[in-house]
């Protein structure tokens, strides 16, 4: 009987812990936007550069007819979503004195996203894809050159 009571108590404690975790997660999710910290900006820019480099490689594979239509379509769409999420983070005010840097990152993210959408539409046009690939490479290089204090 006592072990049954102990078991019920353990279930209740487990449920309370789960509720506390959910409340904490809700609090985090509902928090108001704060200015970007330098390390967060650095992470976002690295992610964007990575997406641009991957887009460049997708373009290479497309021009060599190494991808299926569904793969190219879906992978570009996923990268677009990724860039949109990163762009959302860049909507927050920049860290002190670095507003120009954030503005530059926003511009590059917008170009990257537009190119990804264009690549989806012109996946079978090798000349267009080669042009888009070259532009993605230049966007990646610009993002990699951004003078953000390393972590």
């Amino acid at each position: 009987m006592r072990s049954r009571a102990r078991e019920i108590a353990a279930w209740i404690v487990g449920a309370l812990v789960a509720l506390a975790v959910l409340a904490w997660l809700y609090d985090r999710a509902a928090a108001m936007p704060e200015p970007l910290q330098v390390d967060e900006l650095s992470r976002v820019v690295r992610q964007l550069a990575s997406d641009a480099r991957e887009a460049e490689r997708l373009a290479t594979a497309l021009t060599r007819s190494q991808l299926t239509r569904n793969f190219a379509e879906h992978q570009h769409r996923q990268l677009e979503e990724d860039v949109s999420e990163a762009r959302g983070k860049l909507a927050a005010p920049g860290p002190g004195g670095d507003e120009a840097l954030v503005e530059q990152a926003r511009g590059l993210a917008d170009r990257l996203r537009a190119n990804l959408a264009a690549a989806r539409l012109h996946a079978s046009d090798h000349a267009a894809i080669a042009r888009i690939g070259a532009e993605q490479a230049s966007i990646a290089a610009a993002l990699e050159r951004m003078p953000i204090t390393p972590l």
């Binding site: 353990a10 990575s50 480099r53 991957e54 190494q66 991808l67 569904n70 990724d82």
Partner: protein, 411 residues
């Protein structure tokens, strides 16, 4: 047991060896640290061989699978905490694998992401519901062998083999191209855990009891564990080499599942791509099936209820509710749109914390001559198992702090 059965068992073990967690941590790890994580694969593969063989041997001799041991060998409140934590990890793992299967279905056939999740979960429910245990293992394991295409893609990228060989020696990152030691530690722990995921021994030991293995089949248990997991380790090495050759030093952080298939497409073209995507689909689908069944086994065994995949739902209601409930709950979470790759990272890291409590009761019984008789651990196995349990304990302590410090390995 015929040679064909043995061969199929080993092939299934190889194909069923890789899941979302391994795909993510190997390709990302290779991209971040080149070949420097290869030594972790060797150590973790020895660990999973040791503990899978031990759990199978204990199950055969005592007729007790892993969670029945936790119930009997661990104090009840701690056992209950392990059960709750295991259900939580199973939920995350199954969610990630259902989400991953939906991504692969989209990469293959297009279509809406949520629709593909529902299709994937429905196929999973039907496969587990209508087939017996052995065909389930065979289908997912053998079709998952599509991933062996990485064994051809990796050498095709012409790696410097002397640098590959140096990756088998433990070392700390020194190159300025690499993230710091904390991120390296995160990947070491993540890869170690991804190879030693607890659901694998729950599933393996329960399967041994359910399929009625006898002490005569201990040799098959040994060969399945050693050859299957060792060859699975070779496949994992190929994944890291592929990730390193395709992405290391090239500025790509492969955080999408499709990105893991891109190097194969670049090396082998469309046929290679389709091959690897089918392999991925069955590998992650198989992991979802194993996690779901492991959940049913864990709950029913801990509560002392009747269990068994080959029993009818009215004869084993808790077991069947356990696996069906997990798939339905995982689908519900996946439908919220959480990225499967992020979820799998959490599942792998949280799994490390549960690992010592899963493996300790197995070791305790496996070395007990009063329970195991002549099949108890010998000195070498026992010593190795203690060393691994210590490593697992260290990984369990370090896992969550490393996850928080490194922002899930992002630095």
């Amino acid at each position: 047991m015929s040679f064909l059965d043995l061969f199929l068992g080993i092939m299934s073990a190889i194909g069923g060896n890789v899941d979302m967690g391994q795909l993510v941590f190997t390709i990302e790890g290779g991209a971040q640290f080149g070949f420097m994580l290869l030594w972790v694969v060797v150590i973790a593969s020895i660990g999973i061989i040791l503990f899978a063989e031990m759990s199978g041997r204990v199950a055969v001799v005592t007729k007790k699978p892993a969670f029945a041991l936790i119930r009997d060998e661990v104090p009840r409140p701690l056992g209950l905490a392990v059960l709750i934590a295991s259900i939580f990890v199973n939920l995350l793992t199954c969610t990630a694998n259902i989400g991953g299967a939906a991504v692969v279905l989209q990469l293959l056939f297009g279509g809406d992401h949520r629709l593909m999740m529902v299709v994937g979960a429905a196929l999973l429910l039907a496969t587990i519901g209508f087939l017996e245990l052995e065909p389930i293992e065979r289908i997912f394991g053998l079709m998952g062998l599509g991933l062996v295409v990485y064994l051809f893609a990796a050498p095709g990228m012409a790696p410097d083999w002397s640098r590959v060989a140096s990756g088998f020696v433990p070392q700390l990152p020194a190159s300025p191209d690499m993230p710091g030691t904390a991120v390296y530690g995160y990947y070491v722990v993540g890869l170690f855990s991804a190879i030693l995921m607890p659901y694998e021994v729950h599933f393996y030991s329960s399967g041994a009891v359910e399929q009625g293995w006898t002490p005569k089949q201990l040799a098959s248990n040994f060969s399945n564990a050693v050859i299957g997991f060792a060859l699975g380790g070779v496949l994992t090495v190929a994944l890291i080499v592929t990730g390193a050759m395709a992405f290391y030093g090239r500025g790509v952080d492969p955080h999408l599942l499709g990105t893991a298939a891109l190097p194969v497409a670049l090396a082998l073209g469309v046929k290679g791509l389709l091959f690897v995507l089918v392999g991925m689909l069955f590998a992650v689908g198989g992991a979802a099936a194993e996690t779901a069944l492991a959940n049913g086994y864990s709950v029913a065994q801990f509560l002392g209820r009747t269990w068994g995949k080959n029993r009818k739902p009215r004869d084993a209601p808790v077991f069947h509710a356990g696996w069906i409930g997990l798939i339905v709950a995982s689908l519900a979470i996946a439908l919220t749109g959480v990225p499967p790759v992020e979820v799998v990272e959490y599942s792998v890291i949280f799994a490390v914390v549960v690992l010592p409590f899963t493996y300790w009761p197995i070791l305790r019984v496996a070395r007990d001559r009063s329970k195991m008789g002549e099949h108890a651990n010998g000195l070498v196995v026992d010593t190795l198992a203690w060393i691994f349990l210590t490593l697992i304990g260290l990984a369990a302590v370090a896992a969550i702090p490393l996850m928080l410090i490194t922002h899930n390995g992002q630095g």
